[in-house]
């Protein structure tokens, strides 16, 4: 009955799967770019290679998985029904992949036409996604912190993409804008307002559900998304008014809010009732720890602006928050979502007559744990590359590409086993 129930609420498996299977390949590309460019990429956050690699990770990897996952889980987490989810998934997947590749190549080559094309394609794609999700959520009351968080995260998505498009056009056409201040704000909306708030909204459900922890306390879970969005609006106003003290104050407050969320999640995980520490749990521990260190750096820099002048400060912060924080959260979730969805679909195929194989048969723990260790090694290498770029940049890029290629291989293998199990179940049903 569970399988029937879930299927009535869930879009076809093919809708999210396309996002989940292409995203790791872009992270491989980012690793190869780092290996190809070598030490030059780490000269500053503004090098063409660094900008291209950053957007390969944030747009091509993070945004891919986040939009794909939302298409899948919105009905289950919010009760909202996305109209024509497979059609939306197809268009958004193509638009996002093409737009992100245009963007990365635009940054890398500096060709204005590529940047403006990327801005147009990404703007249209995200607008379509926002229209579909806002339509689905209209009339859905915010009865839980997850629903309210998701609605606010969509505002964050509009904010980060709006600012990104503005800056891409400014770079392409040479508009005079305060690009450094806008780039910080764009990163704040992307990592705090969109990815951070979305992560929290999803964590309220998935952390207790998959890791058997206590729930997030009501007051904290309702207020975190509001506090984060409030700080970003304040930060935006401060940039417009050109008040650096208010920029720093809002950055400090956003960092404290983020640390409070990460610290709370670590505390809940310490009380979990599932004794076994699987790759998802370990990935989340890594992500939460790295995020707390990165946010401590942000808070410190807000209090002592001279810290940003320390060589490598901004690069270490970026690597810690993106490659150390968000990518591990996402990889950890992929390791739960993909086998869970595959199992759910096999349950449906079996029609309660032929049992589905267990989830750890579809994606064995040993494979995911080893991949996680490879990813942790890649992260350490990337961090060590900031002070020792001459020695480590190329090996770090290669190891990062291998670790993400391994993630892709593990997910693709789970899908291969799923397809084989689907054939076996059909045969057994036919023989009955």
């Amino acid at each position: 009955m569970q399988a029937v129930m879930a299927f009535e609420n869930a879009p076809p498996f093919a809708a999210p799967l396309r996002f989940f299977l292409t995203a790791p390949l872009f992270a491989v590309l980012a690793g190869l770019l780092i290996a190809f460019e070598g030490p030059d990429l780490f000269a500053s956050r503004w090098t063409p290679g660094a900008l291209a690699a950053t957007h390969l990770l944030t747009v091509c990897f993070m945004l891919q998985v986040m939009l794909g996952a939302l298409i899948q889980i919105m009905p289950v987490f919010t009760g909202a029904n996305l109209k024509r989810p497979l059609a939306v998934a197809r268009i958004v997947h193509v638009g996002l992949s093409a737009g992100a590749l245009l963007l990365a190549s635009g940054f890398y080559s500096g060709i204005p036409g590529l940047l403006s094309s990327a801005a147009l394609v990404l703007a249209l794609t995200v607008l379509l996604f926002l229209a579909a999700t806002v339509l689905a959520l209209s009339g859905v009351p915010s009865t839980s912190p997850t629903i309210r968080g998701l609605k606010l995260a969509l505002l964050g998505l509009a904010g980060v993409v709006g600012l990104g498009v503005l800056m891409a056009l400014a770079l392409a056409y040479g508009w005079a804008l305060p690009l450094a201040a806008l780039a910080d704000l764009h990163a704040g909306w992307g990592l705090g307002g969109w990815a951070g708030v979305l992560l929290a909204a999803m964590a309220y459900v998935v952390v207790p559900m998959f890791q058997l922890t206590p729930g997030y306390p009501m007051r904290a879970s309702w207020w975190f998304p509001v506090a984060m969005l409030g700080m970003l609006l304040l930060w935006s106003a401060a940039v417009l008014a050109e008040w650096p003290w208010l920029v720093r104050l809002s950055q400090f407050a956003a960092a404290v809010a983020g640390m409070a969320f990460a610290g709370l999640t670590l505390r809940l995980q310490a009380k979990r009732r599932r004794a076994r520490a699987d790759a998802t749990y370990r990935y989340w521990q890594l992500g939460l720890s790295a995020s707390i260190v990165a946010l401590l750096m942000l808070a410190s820099a807000a209090l002592w602006p001279d810290a940003v002048g320390v060589e490598g400060w901004t690069l270490v912060f970026g690597v810690l928050l993106v490659a150390g924080g968000f990518l591990p959260f996402i990889a950890g979730m992929l390791y739960k979502i993909v086998p869970f969805l595959a199992w759910l679909h096999l349950q449906e195929c079996g029609k309660a007559k032929v049992p589905a194989p267990a989830m750890n048969k579809l994606l064995p723990d040993v494979n995911t744990r080893r991949q996680m260790l490879a990813y942790a090694a890649a992260l350490l290498l990337l961090l060590a590359t900031v002070p020792f770029a001459g020695w480590l940049a190329r090996p770090a890029g290669v190891v990062f590409a291998v670790a993400n290629g391994w993630l892709w291989w593990n997910l693709a293998s789970a899908i291969r086993r799923y397809r084989q199990a689907e054939i076996d179940i059909s045969r057994k049903l036919a023989a009955k």
Partner: protein, 75 residues
């Protein structure tokens, strides 16, 4: 386990899916006309809500301070 709202309680806060759904449907089957049951979860079970509505059950939801959703379901 009993609760001030009803003696019929499924505490599914530390259960893995699909156990909360199965336990709720099993308890609903044991209730007499006019009785109510309480489901405790750390999330809102939207797919279950849909099944409850389809089967003509009323339900009320309240979230309490520790993050628990108390879902009171009428037979």
């Amino acid at each position: 386990m009993t609760h001030p709202k009803t003696p019929h309680v499924v505490d599914a806060r530390y259960m893995e899916p699909p156990e909360p759904f199965v336990a709720t449907m099993e308890m609903l089957d044991t209730l007499k006309e006019g009785e109510k049951m309480l489901l405790l979860l750390f999330r809102e079970p939207h797919p279950l809500y849909k099944v409850l509505r389809q089967n003509g059950h009323d339900y009320e939801v309240e979230q309490v301070a520790d993050g628990t959703f108390e879902i009171l379901i009428s037979r």
